[in-house]
């Protein structure tokens, strides 16, 4: 009986261990860990969104131009103020363009972004769609944490207490940033930079 249970448990654990690192992929984007985001990004940055303005690009598509005050650079060389565009948005003439899976980026947000390079018209994409955006949130005492859009980390209310750090909706800020830094360092070493 005991042997049978142990065997079953071993099998169970094998299932879990086999599934945990599985290359599972998202509906319209690959499912990525922090390291995967860093590996694919041309820009990995933290900053505050200053403005967002929708417009038509040269192809006749709606894109939204964001201005970001850069607070920290993990990868790339964006300068102190980054201006970048992502597809989608709404024009004053009443037309809108939405790409399901894209993150919502709003002025005033503090964010960590993982962005691809620019295409020929200067438009970027977030790496892994909404996975490429984390929102920096603060609790009542001002302690920061990261809300992962794709991990279901919704907004934290102004009266919230300390964020959960394991298995919950909010990722530990310092630990995650350390992970990003480590992944960036590993990439630099890998690419000889």
């Amino acid at each position: 009986m005991r042997i049978a249970f142990s065997a079953a448990l071993c099998a169970a654990l094998a299932v879990v261990s086999a599934q945990d690192p599985s290359p599972v992929q998202a509906g319209t984007a690959l499912r990525l860990e922090i390291e995967g985001l860093v590996a694919r990004a041309e820009l990995a940055i933290e900053g505050r969104v200053l403005s967002a303005r929708a417009r038509l690009d040269a192809r006749g598509r709606i894109e939204t131009e964001y201005q970001l005050a850069v607070a920290r650079v993990f990868w790339g060389n964006p300068g102190a103020r980054l201006v970048f565009s992502l597809p989608g948005g709404e024009l004053p003439d009443g037309r809108g363009l939405w790409l399901p899976g894209m993150p919502v980026i709003s002025p005033g947000e503090d964010v960590v972004l993982f962005l691809t390079g620019e295409d020929s018209l200067g438009c970027r994409m977030p790496v892994g769609l909404s996975q490429g955006k984390f929102r920096v949130v603060r609790d009542r005492r001002g302690a920061r944490s990261l809300a992962s859009e794709s991990n279901g980390a919704e907004l934290i209310g102004p009266g919230a207490a300390a964020p959960a750090t394991q298995g919950g909706k909010v990722i530990d800020y310092a630990a995650t940033l350390a992970r990003i830094e480590a992944a960036a360092a590993a990439r630099r070493a890998r690419e000889g930079r």
């Binding site: 079953a8 448990l9 099998a11 169970a12 654990l13 299932v15 599934q19 945990d20 599985s22 599972v24 992929q25 998202a26 509906g27 319209t28 984007a29 690959l30 499912r31 990525l32 694919r40 990004a41 006749g60 598509r61 597809p87 709404e90 009443g94 037309r95 809108g96 363009l97 939405w98 790409l99 399901p100 899976g101 691809t116 390079g117 295409d119 018209l121 994409m125 790496v127 892994g128 769609l129 996975q131 992962s148 794709s150 991990n151 279901g152 980390a153 919704e154 907004l155 934290i156 209310g157 009266g159 919230a160 207490a161 300390a162 964020p163 959960a164 394991q166 298995g167 919950g168 909706k169």
Partner: protein
């Protein structure tokens, strides 16, 4: 039970619109749902080039299956209508408003798939911000960054599965909190279960584009503790069998509306949209609060078309417990009649908890509680109906977390063991029988670019669980997999199971016999002869085969053993064979070299000398026979054999024309033809019924002798024939 340390109060953006069953995309600013103005005919075009990973063009069938999947429910009037005209399929200008294109972007021409984007596919949707009307939408696959498949190649994304999801967006549906929904935001390479829209997806379309009046349940979600409304709670209706039946997202006032319901009894519950699907998976503007625990309400009975006011659905305070993460490959497949082991991630999954399926006939046994995951076995009774089953975890403190539609009950995958015949004409019309197992009503059979749907005109017939029949449609030559796709999306496949080929038809072989030493030129007439064909006589490949047209082949025979008749086979590339008879004779073939004179009066009666070789007493001469088949024509009025190389014939009456002259050994069938061997002239050639006598030049010694002897020889031939007939009569 303790309160979740973070009250994840997710008051994101106020939304005024009622969010009905399923989740629809809407205008962020005013909450108006996105919709098609003319849902009965939403045009769609499959770009011809398809994926460079699928060179056989089967992307067409995969995408057409996806299109058909969304049109299967009669409760909604939205229909994707494919424009399959060549001119439209050739277009690549997906961003034009006048075309809704499904396109594989192999070079990132769209700009949506730069290096590092990790995006598999995307559906840009243009809309009017004032009305929500969809102005344009297209589905783009990232062909540059990812590989796709229609045949289950490991590590590649199933085109149909991805397309069903993206087409849901094109129709205006947002991501769903149902793990088993096609609009569930995550899919893995190799997953097929989201090929078929779930009930939740169907409810979404019924809500957006109803074809009739359906029952609905309307209520408000409130916190039990303080009666405050819960925004964006995920409300689910479960039917009497314990199956997930409908879902809704409460609006910013906590109001939910489960619609598109069939009559029945439903248990209603609310669960936070936190994991594995969250507000981040939805389009902007949804208000989603998750600071409560999964909570059951009560059961309600709804009649056809009835609107039920549920009242308040009260939810308990949040707990440190949840089931399901986006790292889980969902839904979990549970095959009827089989056992399987699964795991799910989450939080608070500790010893002493219980794991309960909503369908009591399904047996779930936890094997290991590992705090952040649980491992369990699932047993499904044989014959269980397909559908979705919720999984609920209850921790030792009574906390509850429900993962809607976590299990997808599917029938065992179809298996195709035999396809008979395995070869059919490319023109179609071949009646084919598939033998195998686990064939269910509603199945589709895919052979090459054609889809045969059970019960549809020109489709297939699921005779029973082991037999499907169909009559093939015209299909380009080639060998194709035969795929049986169950309505749940699982499939069975006979690799290279059927070959379409031009089926040759042999109408005649002429002459039907040739000399055993070979070298006889024979003409095969029929149809569907194609380049590369082969001819065999008694199994011996013929080296000299000349394809003159799709209806005519000439063969110069190889030597063969005298005797027969042997089987002559004509085989087209692909293996289609037509057969006829051919014999080898020990005698040399008659060979007709020339005639003298070569023309004479139409009235006949002219004496003509036929020169050649291999002539014998059994030879007969015909004027005007078909040179390819030996049929037709008129026999010589009389014939005399002078020797093995000379025949003297008296021409029959014949209309003025230049005709063939045929010498045939009546005993063996060997023959020789001069195609334009003799001209019957109506006048001038002889006139008055006299045979032609050249007036210029000397008459040859041989000809003069023949002219003298011909009547005598003819008389002798008639006497000999008469004697033969008498002998036959005497024997009789």
């Amino acid at each position: 039970m303790r309160a979740r340390p973070v009250a994840a109060l997710a008051a994101i953006v106020a939304s005024s619109g009622l969010i009905a069953a399923h989740v629809r995309m809407h205008v962020p600013g005013n909450g108006k749902p996105l919709f098609w103005m003319n849902p009965d005919s939403v045009g769609i075009v499959i770009q011809k080039a398809g994926s460079d990973d699928v060179p056989d063009g089967s992307h067409f069938t995969a995408l057409r299956n996806a299109i058909a999947d969304w049109g299967a429910d009669s409760g909604t009037r939205v229909r994707l209508i494919e424009d399959s005209s060549a001119s439209q399929q050739a277009r690549t200008d997906w961003s034009s408003n006048d075309i809704h294109l499904i396109l594989f972007d192999e070079q990132n021409g769209s700009g949506y798939f730069p290096t590092g984007s990790a995006t598999v596919a995307i559906t840009p949707v243009w809309y009017s911000t004032s009305s929500g009307a969809i102005l344009d939408a297209d589905v783009l696959f990232n062909g540059k960054g990812f590989q796709f498949t229609t045949s289950g190649v490991a590590g590649r994304f199933d085109i149909q599965d991805v397309a069903v999801h993206e087409l849901g967006h094109l129709l205006g549906l947002d991501h769903s909190g149902w793990a088993g929904a096609s609009m569930y935001p995550y899919v893995s390479a190799g997953v097929l279960l989201q090929r078929s829209p779930s009930l939740d997806d169907v409810r979404g379309l019924r809500e957006a584009y109803p074809a009739q009046s359906f029952a609905s349940i309307t209520g408000t979600v409130r916190r039990a503790a303080d009666q405050s409304v819960v925004k964006g709670a995920h409300v689910v209706a479960r039917d009497q069998l314990g199956r997930s039946a409908a879902g809704a997202l409460a609006d910013a006032s906590g109001v939910f509306r489960l619609s598109g319901l069939d009559p029945g009894t439903y248990l209603v519950y609310a669960t936070p949209l936190d994991q594995p699907v969250s507000a981040a998976n939805l389009s902007p503007g949804h208000a989603v609060q998750t600071d409560f625990a999964s909570s059951y309400g009560t059961s309600v009975v709804v009649g056809a078309g009835q609107g039920i006011a549920y009242g308040e659905l009260r939810v308990d305070p949040d707990v440190t417990l949840s089931l399901g993460r986006n790292s889980d490959v969902l839904p979990l497949a549970a095959v009827a009649g089989q056992s399987a082991m699964h795991s799910l991630h989450g939080m608070g999954l500790v010893n002493g908890s219980s794991l309960q399926p909503s369908d009591p006939l399904v047996n779930v046994v936890p094997l290991a509680w590992l705090t952040s995951s649980v491992v369990f076995s699932v047993d499904v009774p044989a014959g269980a109906e397909p559908g979705h089953v919720d999984l609920a975890v209850v921790d030792p403190f009574g906390g509850l977390s429900i993962l809607p539609a976590a299990l997808e009950i599917v029938p065992p995958s179809p298996a195709v063991s035999q396809v008979a015949p395995a070869l059919g004409a490319s023109a179609g019309g071949t009646f084919v029988t598939l033998q195998g197992s686990n064939f269910n009503p509603g199945a589709r059979v895919v052979i090459g670019p054609r889809i045969y749907t059970d019960g549809e005109p020109g489709g297939c017939v699921v005779v029973d669980g082991s037999t499907i029949t169909l009559t093939t449609s015209a299909t380009a030559d080639g060998t194709y997999d035969v795929v049986v796709i169950d309505s749940t999306g699982v499939e069975g496949r006979a690799v290279d199971g059927f070959t379409f080929a031009s089926i040759p038809v042999l109408d005649s072989v002429f002459p039907p016999s040739g000399q055993s030493t070979g070298g006889t030129e024979i003409v095969l007439r029929g149809k569907n002869f194609v380049s590369g064909l082969a001819v065999r006589i008694d199994g011996v490949a013929q080296a000299q085969v000349f394809l003159d047209s799709a209806k005519r082949v000439r063969v110069v025979t190889e030597p063969g053993l005298a005797g027969g008749p042997y089987v002559l086979e004509l085989e087209n590339p692909g293996g289609a064979v037509a057969s006829a008879a051919f014999s080898y004779s020990p005698l040399p073939d008659p060979v007709l070299s020339d005639l003298a004179p070569a023309s004479g009066p139409a009235a006949g009666g002219a004496s003509v000398t036929l020169n050649g070789s291999g002539f014998n007493a059994d030879c007969e001469v015909w004027f005007g026979a078909n040179p390819d088949t030996g049929t037709g024509g008129t026999p010589a009025a009389s014939l005399a054999l002078l020797d093995g190389s000379t025949l003297v014939a008296t021409t029959p009456a014949h209309g003025s024309a230049t005709v063939s002259v045929l010498v045939r050994d009546a005993a063996t069938g060997q023959a020789s033809v001069l195609k334009s061997g003799y001209t019957f002239a109506s006048s001038g050639g002889g006139g008055g019924g006299c045979h032609v006598v050249p007036i210029d030049g000397p008459r040859g010694r041989h000809e003069a002798l023949l002219a003298w002897l011909a009547p005598l020889l003819a008389l002798a031939w008639i006497q000999a024939r008469t004697a033969r007939q008498r002998r036959r009569l005497a024997r009789a």
